[in-house]
């Protein structure tokens, strides 16, 4: 009985980890896109290529 409950708990934990990882991935990509959008006006103002600014932001993070 104890073994079964431990296994069930383990399954729940794995599911939670996977869920958390998926959430982190979605958060990472969407946040990254939001960051990229903010770089556009900055790159225009600084007269620097957009991709250079993106790479610079990546390094800074």
């Amino acid at each position: 009985m104890n073994n079964a409950s431990a296994a069930a708990q383990q399954v729940v934990q794995v599911a939670q980890t996977v869920e958390h990882q998926t959430m982190l991935m979605v958060l990472g990509i969407t946040g990254l896109l939001a960051l990229a959008v903010m770089v556009v006006p900055l790159a225009t103002r600084l007269r620097l290529p957009f991709t250079v600014m993106l790479a610079a932001i990546g390094v800074l993070i």
């Binding site: 990254l32 960051l35 250079v52 990546g58 993070i61």
Partner: protein
Amino acid sequence: MHEFVHALNSLEITSEAVFFVFLPALVFESAFAIDVRRLFDDISPILMLAIVGLLISTAVIGFTMAYVTHMPILACLLLGAIVSATDPVAVVAIFKDLGAPQRLAILVEGESLFNDATAIVAFTIISAMMLGQSDPTLFSGIASFVTVFFGGILVGYVTARIICVLLVNIGESNLPKITLTISLAYLSFIIAEHSLHVSGVMAVVTAALVLGSRGRSVITQSTWHGLEEVWEQIGFVANSVIFILVGLKVPSIMAAMSSQQFVWLGVLLLAGFIARFAIIFGLVPVMSKLGWSAQVSTGYRAVMFWGGLRGAVSLALALAVMENDGFSPQIQEFLGVMVTGFVLFTLAINATTVSLVMRAFGLAKLGPADAAIRDRAFSKAMASVSTRVQGSARAMHIGEEQTNQVVKPYEQLIADSAKNVTDNKLSDDDWLLIGLRMVCMNENKAYAKMLDQAEISPDTARSLFGHAADISDSIKSGGLDAYLNQYRGKLGFHWHTKWAMRLQRTFGITSLLAKNLANRFQVLEAECTVLHELNNIVETQLADMLGAKTTDELKAILAQRDLETEQALQALRACYPEYAKALEKRVLQQTAMRLEQSEYKDMLASSLISKEVASSLKEDMSERYQELQQSLSLDLGLDAKTLVSKMDFFQNLDQSVQHDIAKLLKPRLALPGELIFSKGGPPDAMYFISSGAIRIDLDTQTVIIGSGDCFGEMALLYQKPRMASVVSDGFSELLVLHTKDFNQMLSKDPELRKQIETIAEQRSFDNQQDG
């Protein structure tokens, strides 16, 4: 915030993610945005730079680094291949901001697209050699390169053609069509790279180029705009994600950099730039001198040299090495640090200074023709704005004082720009060429509109787009004369029509010829319609920009072209009146359908009907116009029995004799101006004219004979060479009787023999009289 930083750090960029997720999208987006015709104008220098240039650069960097670092030669060659792939993203963005010449952008983008493929192929071959998976010999390297490179092209071409067929048959909606292009990018890449082990990048480049060139004739203009926007969006997202992720990876790789590696990086940068300089300033001019490519100016070459940035592909290849345990840790670290350092240098230094190079060579400025157009456009716009502002002021009851305050600066600008307009240094000939180019652009737009409104089929649209582009290109290469020659050439018959004729004459297959002529019918009809429209556009829209003299000249050129096109169309109409009528009926039906559609649209916009009612009405309309979906087929009427029964010559003969004769006669269509036989030729056949007109060029005169007549009988009767050359004056339906059948027919039917001999004697007598 903490979670977000954690989330960013947890995003691990792998070479697989770059290759299978980002690369197809980035490469497809770049290749799709390229003007395929312009790319092919400069395909020799682009391929030379992308293939030969990249291999030279790989060798120079590889041997230099091996000499300096004492690392294995294959590792150094691998480094050379990785850092020789250029990335145009940053440079193209600068080009857009500064309004760089289109040709320069295409040279830079084209080189980058193809050299990505070359670099990946070279990388795969060298790494396979290093890992002991293939023979490290030059011959096996070259053989693998050719297979992988051209295999990729083949996969991309086939996949794109299949998708083009699906695009035609997938219905009206935009969304499935756009989705299909996304599938095309990834499918072509995965089929090539994963399933067939050929170049995925070349497959994607080819697929995008095929879609870019053929797609316009199978996708409507509105879908095309949607497609461009979606791909621009995909490109933006992919670039944003990849460059930030690359940035995230940099500190961990560069942290391990030693002072010795710093020196090596200096040597690598020096070798890389020297190799690129030698290729751009050595190889390209040599190609121009040999006549293999058009001249590339020093300014362009300087920008190409300095604008050769390195980016995502180089980093992805370095990552692939770092993730592969087959490589020793020493080589992994060496390649990781060197490539990242090289990429960072070009992004930080070259990307930020390439605009200075462009300005130094005056490439950010408009050329004299564009500057003159700008002045006239500005003057025209200011005059229009001033008048309309005054009109608005009156309508809004705004006082005169306020109106004057707003309008006065415009009047000052109009006065200033008038001076610039008169000061322009362009000759009348220059303005005429500018006008012709504007006309060509409008011609292309008019065909796209016709395709959108289903007035022309995709096949016809493809022919028309091709014609318009060739005519437009001819202006660039040879001015007005080339324009005239080009459109006249287009009115003639192309190789595929001639090939279809040969097929009909040899095997009696008429379907291809009928399809060709039906397409010609529709092409000429569409050209005539558009030429009328262009005449109006020149008068109403271009006249202010081009001036009265140029406008008159343009109108005269268009009128002449219209006349010649109309004549070519008349020749077809005379030969196939039934098809001409059916075509005209269809054009009118399509107009009716469009009008009905716009009625419902207006009613919906004015809220007279609801969306549901509009949709039901449209559904009903689609059913009524279902016959418009079927393509019109042209019956060439090349059936011997029918043609014989129509001819007066055989009218007096019995049905059974007519039937026997029809078996011996071979139907043949002659095109306008086609030589049937020339003087002195062998007596191999005689001809009966079922319809059309034939010109016989005798020594002293020219005789025209028409339907019901025959020719070529004298040479057969007297077994002499041909006495005259015979040319078809328009489209002529002929019945050919070969010598063997001629003898057989005359021996069977003495009546017919007598009839033909009488004609021959009469003609012989006439010829002697004239002589």
